[in-house]
Symmetry: C2
Subunit: 453 residues, 2 copies
């Protein structure tokens, strides 16, 4: 095949896309603004961790990389909730330990995917290539401030502030929305102990919910934890001296505070991170260009889905190529049609999750509800699975998980009001909410669906 | 003053801004992508007309240009409505002929403003300068693919698809939305007659409302009319042969059809124009950069406000400079605080107007309501002024006009249901809708306000 494909962005999604295309024998150039993370220590490497979930694993398996990547991860079979009073509660994600999320260091994962892409004969990686304006009409692209003929097809896998999208936006009719939350985050890693040991239980996703803010921590292979404090930007900005930072942690996270050595200094060295949600349509320009991953739909992190969703994007895209070959206009059209409703659903659920978390006035209500949800999942396996379980553990289509929402809420309401079994809850109202096309797991949660399955 | 100010964009808003700044003795560079319209025939010159209204005139007067510009305009003291049945109805905009809109050829207006800007000692115009990526952080700007130090302060007056905004957007937290309507437009000018005479009444804004589509026409000084057909993009695209176009006009606009010579060919030569609405926040980057006009808030044209709103932007900006001098951070902050709620109101009203127009099922209902509105304006001068009158003829703040909306709708509903006088309508419900700060014209429309005034 003489056609050369260009991918802008060599992050996890761009690299995995290169693997998918390379495995099909296609010729692929990948242009990345940053230096090669395999040879250079990345500037401002925030050493962040991501969680790979069922959806991500499925895509990696399709690319033949599941075994290699999963070996780099640390399984987290449940949440470990550190309540404000000091109580620590372990909430398994599923009924078996295999039903887990998997913590992975972002840069390590990216390097492994880059290696896999580069090992394919048709794939070439080009680092420190900053794409500027793309003139779709004139057919030119600016890279490192030089103009070159616009390659075609072009994939924009260049993240939430995508340069490819910025140029697509200037061609009507392209609809777009980007919205920053009033919440931001700071990295506050928990170091390994004196002998390199974990200072917290490594097999779990730690959460310190404090309602107007929260701390989360994921294990890294070196004995440390990647931790992030999410809170209103005003609040983060107000923590502007080391003593203030330390007093804040001592008060709200007394079990984490002693584990740090330079908490105040580290905290202040890291700029406030912003959280953006985006929506774009269309993602393609005929068969010329296509956006994938965060460039197409940046998801706020309150479902842990950003990367997994991006991985599923390229998985679905691979299905579309299977169906249409290199007829890119047909591939892109099918991809957008299949994928847009799904990513709209996860973007909305992630925002809803954020709003739910932010607006909890009564701490105890929120705790009770979360605990009840967990209790239902454990007590009625397969009859009740919360949104997060459906999405992250079972990899149900986002849209189906969202459509199940009212059913889940109704059951939870009933249980919180005293019902003691899922079977006592009248779900008649929900019969028309979920149609025959929905995932079997969701259908099984309905009385009729349960009877049928 | 050693500081050099840079304006990106030399359209009407950018040129008028240059005039305001130049009149204050400031040093100003204006960079424009297109060639100088005064020496080059602009490619794809759509010879469009705009209407200058009370708000625009007020800004031009402040700049000392009202006399010069208004001499170039053709007054339109009212709408001339061509109903589907053939009836032609003249609806004056106000009670005196001075209460008029003023048609002006966009390019002529732009040239006059450029002349005025260039005549000021501190102002320099630079054409064919295409701005690419702006690196606010690194402090560089790309112009014609060369990098230069970023000038400061920088004004983005570069329109709905602003390059300045595209770069600001990539810095968090910048919120943005751009939405294209499912409607588009085509220019279908009505030529002058064989002896250069007007083929329609020149002193009026002609409208052919057909509910799912509409044609409007504004007079030009050369005897022709700038006309635009607004309709769903699907519908415009379906008119893809000259015979189809001609049959369409013959059926729906039988009084216009015979006035054209090459209707089919002209129609097909013009690409479908798109209609975009945008919302951005914040408009400034500290004291470094500020967006004005369409770059800050593109308004759909259903209120005829785009340019007038942009002119008012720079008028208000001039007030802010009066207050804070060249303390740009303070100027920009005050400007955004004063102006954002106002432009949000006109963006919303313009979209509401579009939706109202689009969703009329019953032609007759719409006609009756529009006629009733006009009748009320004429019968109760000062006691009833519709939204358009408040905004375009009286130049009331957009926000006040929008807040008056429910009152106007209530009166209209009552009149359509049989009340014959504004005084018969109980407006008690509205007492709290409009507070003491509102424009006197709006307050006068309320029973209590009327009594007080």
């Amino acid at each position: 095949m003489a056609e050369r494909i260009t991918i802008i962005g060599a992050g996890p999604v761009g690299s995995l896309l290169a693997v998918f295309l390379g495995r099909r024998g296609m010729e692929v150039d990948v242009l990345e603004r940053s230096p090669d993370p395999r040879v250079t220590t990345v500037k401002n490497d925030r050493s962040i961790c991501m969680s790979v979930n069922a959806r991500g694993v499925r895509a990696l398996r399709r690319a033949g990389l599941a075994e290699k990547i999963m070996a780099m991860t640390i399984p987290m079979p449940g949440r470990i909730v550190h309540h404000a009073g000091g109580k620590v509660e372990t909430q398994p994600y599923g009924v078996s330990p295999e039903e887990a999320l998997h913590a992975v260091h972002r840069t390590s994962l990216n390097c492994a995917l880059l290696d896999a892409a580069e090992a394919l004969p048709g794939v070439r990686l080009h680092f420190e290539q900053e794409v500027g304006a793309i003139h779709f009409h004139g057919g030119t692209m600016e890279s490192n401030q030089k103009m070159a003929p616009l390659p075609r097809p072009l994939f924009g896998a260049d993240g939430a502030y995508s340069a490819v999208r910025a140029s697509m936006m200037r061609r009507a009719p392209f609809n777009f929305r980007q919205e920053h939350l009033e919440y931001g985050y700071k990295d506050v890693d928990v170091p390994a102990g004196p002998n390199g040991e974990y200072q917290l239980e490594p097999h779990g996703l730690h959460i310190w919910p404090r309602h107007k803010f929260m701390l989360i921590a994921l294990p890294k292979p070196d004995g440390s934890f990647a931790a992030e404090l999410f809170m209103p930007i005003e609040g983060l900005s107000a923590l502007d001296t080391a003593p203030k930072v330390e007093a804040f942690f001592r008060e709200h996270f007394p079990d984490v505070f002693p584990l740090h050595r330079n908490l105040g200094k580290d905290f202040l060295a890291f700029p406030v991170g912003h959280l953006v949600s985006t929506e774009a349509f269309p993602w393609n320009l005929g068969g010329e260009a296509l956006l994938v991953g965060d460039a197409a739909h940046a998801v706020v992190p309150f479902f842990g889905e950003g990367m997994n969703c991006g991985f599923e994007d390229v998985h679905v895209l691979d299905d579309c190529i299977e169906a249409h070959g290199a007829d890119w206009a047909a591939v892109f059209e099918r991809f957008v049609r299949l994928r847009k409703p799904q990513t709209d659903a996860i973007c909305a659920m992630a925002l809803e999750n954020f709003v739910e978390m932010r607006d909890q006035i009564e701490d105890s209500d929120f705790d009770i509800r979360k605990s009840a949800e967990h209790l239902l999942e454990v007590s009625f396996p397969g009859r009740f699975i919360g949104r997060h379980g459906l999405v992250a553990i079972h990899g149900v289509p986002y849209l189906d998980a969202r459509r199940a929402g009212p059913v889940l809420d109704h059951v939870l309401d009933a249980v919180c009001q005293g019902k003691t079994s899922v079977d006592e809850v009248d779900l008649g109202f929900a019969e028309n909410l979920v149609d025959e096309q929905v995932a079997p797991l969701v259908r099984a949660m309905l009385p009729r669906g349960g009877a049928q399955s």
